[in-house]
């Protein structure tokens, strides 16, 4: 029951956070230089006087600010995020179209980065000071310092341009009209490069954290107690060291989740992956600020979701959470 309570509190906090972000959106538009309505209309829409007039009425700029905020938040809660003149669709519809692709990409990258990161970090700490540790540490350092978009482009350069091994653009092979298993495999092939590049950066983060955490935990008193009991080294590594080292790593994963979603923007842009990130990039190019803010709100929602998932995993991993 305690866990349910804890999760409900976190859920409420998450919703509150989203409402506040929506308010930030609201403030930003009004704080920016220029007429809020033409900003919201976007470059394309601003040239259509009818559209602009419609927006002006909808916004009710003559109303006092709190009323405007209230009506804005009301619209947000009903999932009305406005209309993109350039793309001639409601913002919500555009986002929903792209949501599955982004979820697929970031979800895969999240799992991949955690699994590889923890595995490599544990391996490095196990052989601390030897060549395999140095190798993993150096590799992690390099990937940690590499700009994500550049890594993506290098991947394209090597695997597509030079070696013609993996597809670089899009979600599936255009015009191939595949079905069923073939379609899944095709998407999978297209998923490899984007997911791998997105995962590599964060894998470095988790590998470093896991290694440091495991080395620290290995010094703790209860590990000495386990040794004094004659417990085998393998079991000590798994049940005592790794198990305790996971706690800060899970916490970190929650914090990094937001970063990964931001990184998706760059990855999707390079690989032309039809997700929300790519949509944001298009909105930038087209100066469609309404769409941009809508995407921003959605990416924040996804970050909150990831945070909730890692919070939940944390409750599974740390039995003391009942008391907190």
């Amino acid at each position: 029951m305690k866990r349910l309570q804890f999760m409900s509190v976190r859920l409420l906090q998450g919703l509150l956070a989203l409402l506040l972000i929506a308010t930030v959106n609201f403030m930003l538009v009004r704080a920016a230089p220029g007429d809020p309505v033409s900003i919201m209309a976007g470059e394309a829409g601003a040239s259509d006087p009818q559209f602009v007039a419609q927006l002006r009425q909808q916004f009710g700029l003559d109303q006092p600010l709190p009323n405007q905020l209230a009506s804005y938040l009301g619209r947000v809660l009903q999932l009305d995020l406005g209309f993109s003149y350039r793309q001639q669709q409601s913002v919500v519809a555009l986002i929903m179209e792209r949501l599955p692709a982004t979820l697929l990409l970031t979800g895969t990258a999240f799992v991949l980065s955690l699994a590889m990161g923890i595995g490599l970090g544990a391996l490095a700490s196990r052989h601390a000071g030897r060549w395999i540790d140095s190798a993993i540490t150096v590799v992690a350092l390099v990937f940690y310092a590499t700009p994500l978009y550049w890594l993506a482009m290098m991947a394209v350069l090597i695997f597509t341009v030079q070696m013609d091994l993996l597809p670089a653009f899009g979600f599936f092979t255009v015009g191939a009209d595949l079905r069923g298993l073939d379609k899944v495999l095709d998407i999978g092939r297209h998923l490899i490069l984007p997911a791998a590049t997105l995962a590599l950066f964060y894998m470095a983060v988790y590998a470093r954290m896991t290694r440091a955490a495991m080395l620290e935990v290995a010094q703790m008193d209860f590990v000495k107690t386990a040794r004094a009991k004659g417990v085998s080294p393998g079991r000590i590594q798994r049940r005592h060291v790794l198990r305790n080292a996971l706690l800060p790593v899970v916490t970190l994963a929650g914090i990094q989740a937001g970063g990964m979603i931001g990184g998706a923007v760059l990855t999707e842009t390079v690989f032309a992956w039809p997700g929300i990130g790519r949509l944001m990039f298009d909105a930038l190019l087209q100066r469609d600020y309404n769409l941009l803010l809508g995407c921003f709100l959605f990416t924040a929602a996804m970050a909150v979701l990831f945070n909730l998932i890692t919070d939940f995993v944390y409750t599974l991993v740390d039995p003391r959470i009942e008391l907190s």
Binding site: A32, P33, P147, M153, L157, G263, V270, F296, A303
Partner: protein, 280 residues
């Protein structure tokens, strides 16, 4: 104390390497015009010239015939400038919030932490994009945007340091001596929290440079400045024809950020030999 710091720093080979690279970057930035022979915006040669194909342009040219090497040199300036300034601003905000929260505790701490957590829940890159887009890209808006999204981790670190240090008896002794609160924060607690803050600062500069280059890549850089991210961005659609347009600027970013990370680790080793003063 200084000499033992250098001794420990030197022991970390990676850190020394990083320091050398950073010195090189700083040198290149300072000497600027001497190294780069052309204005980065000038159409100095044939478009799409491969590296070493044209004299005086060892790294090739881009779609408009601009010298890549000159672009890299100019970009160094922008990246370092934005990286350092935004980190300083971020530190001001973060240290301020963290120190107040950690020292006073109670509901002040709780409110400030809720606020910080909220900020951290927002995907920072997305927020930076939105901020720069809406306020029009310029060096100032980029610095402000990066500072705004980067301060929460600093605040958390400073807060946790202050919370621990606040409990130490020497703070109680200072209170009994009659020292005022601002004096205690500045002269008693802050010097002891300095080491982790310094280490974090070097890592933050690295992150700021990555952030700035990512923004430039997406076209949100200051339109009057040539920056590394912009160069990689302009290579995106012509990767097949001119791989050098993407590779060299990217390597420049990679080396600089890597160097900063390595120096940060060296600083960590050098400053934290004795974590809490226990001589035992």
């Amino acid at each position: 104390m200084k000499s033992s710091f250098w001794r420990r720093f030197r022991r970390n080979k990676g850190a020394v390497f990083g320091l050398v690279v950073l010195a090189l970057v700083a040198l290149v930035t300072a000497l600027g015009p001497l190294v780069a022979q052309h204005d980065p915006w000038d159409m100095a040669g044939m478009p799409f010239a491969a590296p070493l194909a044209e004299p005086g342009m060892p790294l090739g040219t881009d779609t408009m015939g601009r010298d890549i090497l000159s672009g890299i040199v100019a970009g160094a300036r922008v990246s370092l400038l934005i990286g350092v300034v935004s980190t300083v601003v971020s530190l001001f905000i973060g240290v301020g919030v963290g120190a107040v929260a950690g020292y006073f505790g109670g509901w002040i701490d709780a409110t400030l932490m809720r606020f910080t957590e909220l900020f951290q829940a927002i995907p920072s890159f997305a927020l930076a994009i939105v901020l720069v887009a809406i306020f029009e890209p310029s060096v100032q808006s980029i610095v402000a945007a990066i500072a705004v999204v980067s301060w929460p981790p600093v605040a958390r670190l400073v807060r946790s340091e202050f919370l621990t240090l606040r409990q130490r008896d020497f703070v109680a002794a200072a209170q009994l001596a009659g020292q005022s609160t601002p004096r205690i924060i500045l002269t008693q607690i802050l010097p002891n929290a300095a080491s982790p803050i310094v280490v974090m600062a070097s890592l933050m500069i690295a992150t700021a440079i990555l952030l700035e280059s990512s923004l430039s890549f997406l076209g949100l850089g200051d339109p009057n400045r040539m920056s590394w991210g912009y160069m990689v961005g302009s290579a995106r659609t012509v990767l097949r024809q001119a791989w050098w347009m993407a590779v060299f600027p990217g390597v420049a970013i990679l080396m600089t950020v890597l160097a900063l990370n390595l120096v940060g680790e060296g600083l960590n080793d050098g400053l934290n030999a004795r974590a809490d003063g226990k001589g035992k």
